[in-house]
């Protein structure tokens, strides 16, 4: 039995994790390894008058202390960004330098000032406390909108009004204004999509290892994206030859976006190792992670949606100030623009859309992609508008959506749907997912219960979210035209060993997604061999030719497709060898169940036999190269567009303001599914993060730019007893443009869930006339609203 696609195969990788044999970066110990501690600015904005390292360097066991001055003098560059978004007038965005260690000014709380290298972690930390830095504290600004106002402190002198770029997309503003002026009803919401902190449970870590004898460098790092990290670090930061650098991202304990980016610490440990000729390890502690991992979201938004008298959407107008933090992280400029503005069509036929985004520097840590990246912000805006409009116009929220849904299309017989905001959706059936979700929730019955409960003073609420996302990131030429400085293809190599065992090298990276299982299912199924005969290798630039890593729900849609391309080449070449062995013509052969059979006969030759012949080519087709090993680049034709319908049911405690999430129903359509167990797991995890943003999480910077909830004591992570078990189901609308028909499942849960929960709370609170509250919906916030 070699039928694996669509089966809930148990994960191959689990064995090592459940026995404590996972190998994460911090688990690695190299001979002669030293430990680094980074001295960071306690101020959000401060001039650095002096740095005195003498006391620190006098401590026994301290190897060396480097400061921003050493970095500046070495002539290396700062951390680059991978995306360019220009001003509306065509001017290039502001792209201020981001040095590995700062020498003149600290620009956020946590900005790196010096690095101490010592024989142990403890000594490094002790010595770090002895580095004397004299700061002159300066006024700071943490809020994106305030940062653009006159008189706000500047983060970078050459970025007036702290503006990095301004940008718009969609129909010309005048056309949208015109459409809105004719609207029967306009729903307006002003809100903050608050900053959240990704909080992978494994803190970031990096080990730099320079070997003088071979002039080679190895970087072990907690990365979702080892090849891109190598490229950025070698070519843009350190100026060292790429072929001399190996980047390994071993087992990685979750990423959620925060480990996509090339961070300064990665380049620092390599640079220090090269100077000291010893391995250097740095591992963040959690407080440091809170301060320095790139955060997500943080939009200040005003959104208006116009409707005709029947509830048809006539126009959408959006203005957003997007906080980018103090420097530009790897994908920062594209998140609030091309991953956000392009989603404003949602599932609806909105004829006129204008979205305007200002990217803003503030004295806070970098903001970049966090699970969903831009798409949750877009979905939040649209879906909050829909439920609010339904309430205002007294139309049922499910009905309002149905009125406005784009009709079903499969992308094959019916063309894709061209949005007003650049994208062309591939395939969709939006009514279907909503219908199923309503069935699951028992909608009518719930409305009756709700009425009855209200009479008893119980506040029940139901909230909807019907979302779409753009995944399978992304066609290189398209993103290139939009400012990407990299291609977004993926690489997949299939190496058939002489014995018919198969090693697969993918540029995609698993940090929880289960590639070693899902990808092996695809390979084994296509080749008709047992899964045990397939090994998936990823995360090491020395074994994998190249790769663009894992984010944007792209692993299977792009990485999987690259593997399929190579499998096709394997099967094609295998057929030539098989034909020779069977003394038949290729056209007369069919390949199934791991063997080539002469059609209509029982003459066949097995995969293993063909593999061996490819490597022992004694009796072999003339002119054919030996070997059975192919590598392919797959560059997708389009994004993929998963979608779904989420429904939340909450109860609000009138005495305490506490929101309890009673039920959460999610019906997602992520295209074809290779491993339903893994896909369900991705949905669950995504839901928890989206619900976390709605009810619990939020980074708080005070007006001095101090991150005041930068620990697990203060930042409310969703715990097991905060969440219910989820009720999930699936619809399948295959992606028409990739060979597996898959769309991607990593971000769906997060993108859909947040507005569903907030909408449910607003529904529960509607007897109080409350229409909008800022997230997270803490008991205090809800109680105050009910009692004011």
């Amino acid at each position: 039995m070699t039928n694996y696609i669509g089966k809930a195969v148990k994960r191959v990788e689990d064995k090592r994790f459940i026995t404590g044999k996972g190998r994460y970066t911090d688990d690695i110990i190299l001979p002669g390894m030293t430990h680094a501690y980074i001295v960071r600015s306690p101020y959000a904005h401060a001039r650095i008058s002096s740095v005195d390292t003498s006391a620190a360097e006098a401590i026994e066991g301290v190897v060396k202390v480097f400061t921003g001055k050493d970095i500046a003098e070495s002539g290396i560059n700062g951390i680059p960004t991978g995306w360019q978004v220009n001003f509306k007038n065509g001017d290039t965005m502001k792209e201020p330098p981001h040095p590995l260690l700062v020498s003149d000014k600290a620009r956020y709380m946590g900005d790196a000032v010096a690095i101490v290298i010592a024989e142990s972690r403890e000594i490094a930390r002790d010595a770090g406390d002895m580095v004397e830095v004299e700061y002159e504290e300066l006024p700071a600004v943490a809020d994106a909108k305030k940062a653009t106002e006159a008189g706000a402190p500047l983060v970078h002198d050459d970025a007036p009004n702290n503006m990095c770029f301004d940008w718009e997309l969609g129909n010309p503003k005048a056309e949208v204004d015109e459409a809105m002026s004719k609207a029967h009803h306009i729903t307006t919401l002003e809100f903050v999509n608050q900053r959240v902190i990704p909080n992978a449970i494994e803190p970031r870590s990096a080990i730099g290892h320079f070997e003088e004898s071979s002039d080679k460098y190895t970087l072990y790092t907690t990365s979702q994206n080892p090849h891109l990290t190598r490229l950025l670090m070698c070519a843009f930061v350190l100026g060292i030859p790429e072929h001399k650098v190996r980047v390994v991202a071993p087992d990685v304990g979750g990423g959620f976006g925060s480990k996509i980016f090339h961070y300064a610490e990665e380049a620092l440990v390599i640079w220090c190792s090269q100077r000291l000729k010893r391995p250097v390890k740095w591992t963040a502690d959690r407080s440091e992670a809170f301060m320095t991992d790139a955060h997500g979201r943080d939009h200040v938004t005003k959104a208006e949606m116009g409707f005709d008298k029947d509830g048809k959407i006539m126009g959408l107008r959006v203005k957003t100030y997007a906080n980018l933090g103090a420097y530009l992280s790897t994908f920062a400029p594209c998140v609030p623009t091309w991953l956000h503005g392009t989603l404003m069509q949602g599932l609806y036929t909105t004829p006129k859309i204008n979205v305007d985004v200002t990217g803003v520097f503030t004295h806070t840590v970098m903001v970049d992609a966090y699970r969903g990246a831009g798409r949750p912000e877009a979905t939040y805006l649209l879906e909050r508008l829909m439920d609010t409009a339904a309430l205002e116009m007294k139309i049922d929220p499910a009905e309002l959506r149905r009125k406005n849904f784009i009709p079903a299309f499969d992308g094959v017989k019916q063309a894709g749907y061209q949005t007003q905001v650049a994208l062309q959706y591939d395939s969709g059936n939006y009514q279907g997912v909503l219908k199923r979700a309503l069935e699951m929730v028992g909608y009518e019955k719930f409305r009756e219960e709700q009425k009855a409960a209200r009479k008893d003073g119980k506040l029940l609420g139901i909230g909807f979210s019907t979302y779409i996302e753009a995944c399978g990131i992304a066609p290189s030429a398209v993103v290139g035209a939009l400012g990407a400085r990299a291609g977004l293809y993926e690489v997949g190599q299939v190496r058939v060993q002489p014995t018919g065992k198969v090693s697969v090298y993918t540029g995609s990276h698993s940090h929880g997604q289960g590639h070693e299982t899902t990808f092996a299912q695809v390979v084994a199924d296509r080749l008709g061999i047992p899964m045990d005969d397939v090994e998936i290798i990823h995360g090491d630039s020395e074994s994998v030719a190249f790769g663009m890593g894992t984010y944007g729900s792209r692993s299977l849609a792009v990485g999987g497709s690259a593997i399929v391309k190579s499998l096709d080449k394997i099967i094609e070449k295998g057929a030539k060898i098989a034909a020779h062995k069977l003394e038949a013509s290729e056209e007369d052969l069919e390949f199934a169940e791991g063997k080539w059979t002469v059609k209509g006969t029982d003459k066949s030759v097995g995969f293993g036999d063909v593999a061996l012949t490819a490597y022992v080519p004694h009796n072999y087709p003339a002119g054919l190269e030996p070997g059975l090993d192919f590598s392919s680049f797959y560059d997708p034709a389009n994004f993929t567009y998963p979608f779904g319908a989420h429904i939340a049911i909450v109860e609000v405690d009138q005495d305490t303001g506490k929101v309890s999430l009673k039920r959460f129903i999610a019906v997602d359509d992520v295209g074809n599914v290779i491993n339903p167990m893994i896909v369900d797991g991705q949905i669950h995890g995504g839901l928890a993060q989206g619900i976390g943003q709605a009810l619990l999480e939020g980074a708080v910077y005070d007006e001095n730019g101090q991150l005041i909830n930068g620990s697990y004591m203060d930042y409310t992570m969703p715990r097991a007893d905060d969440l219910p078990s989820f009720e999930i189901d699936r619809q399948v609308t295959p992606c028409p443009h990739n060979p597996l028909g898959v769309k991607g499942a990593g971000e769906a849960g997060t993108i859909g869930s947040t507005p569903a929960v907030v909408n449910a709370v607003m529904d529960a609170l509607s007897p109080f006339g409350i229409k909008n509250l800022e997230m997270p919906l803490t008991p205090e916030r809800v109680w105050r609203a009910m009692n004011s």
Partner: protein, 161 residues
């Protein structure tokens, strides 16, 4: 300055000189090389470092190595019995209770303590018992099922025995 401690870890007796400020988790990871126990925070909130000390779940970042002197410690590496997975290990695999695996050792050890005290926990009791262990990947849904799987398996084994 160093203090000598004697501990039994996963059935093996050790004696080491340790710096008095060494945390138990650091001792396990750095001295014994038992890197299955993870560090996820510096405020004793995440539970990634949970182990069993004399049969009770303890966050090993809250304890100094010297405090473990004379104790019996069990870590994730000691959960399987001669290659046979513990029912919790099996449960996490069967029910897809892990994704990145970083929280998993702590989850398993905390659950082991729970099942010792309460062999038949309800979903609510499982969620309450695990509230000191963060998982950012799974949304806890399948972790609950994994613990239920193990509870059932253990009770069936006991019926047979």
């Amino acid at each position: 300055m160093a203090t000598t401690i004697q501990v039994t870890v996963n059935g093996k007796a050790y004696s080491h000189d340790v710096d008095p400020r060494t945390l138990l988790v650091q001792y396990l990871r750095d001295v014994l090389g038992l890197t299955g126990t993870h560090v996820g925070c510096d405020t004793s909130n995440c539970g990634a470092c949970t182990i069993l000390v004399d049969g009770k779940a303890v966050k090993s970042c809250t304890m100094l190595a010297v405090q473990a002197d004379g104790s019996e410690v069990k870590t994730i590496e000691g959960m399987a019995d001669n290659g046979t997975l513990h029912p919790l290990q099996e449960g996490f695999r069967e029910e897809h209770g892990l994704q990145c695996g970083f929280c998993t050792p702590g989850m398993i050890m905390t659950s082991a303590d729970l099942l010792e005290r309460n062999p038949n926990p309800t979903e609510h009791e499982i969620r309450e018992a695990l509230e000191g262990n963060f998982c950012r990947c799974t949304g806890y849904h399948n972790i609950v099922k994994s613990v239920q799987y193990a509870a059932k398996k253990i009770s069936n084994q006991e019926k047979v025995a």
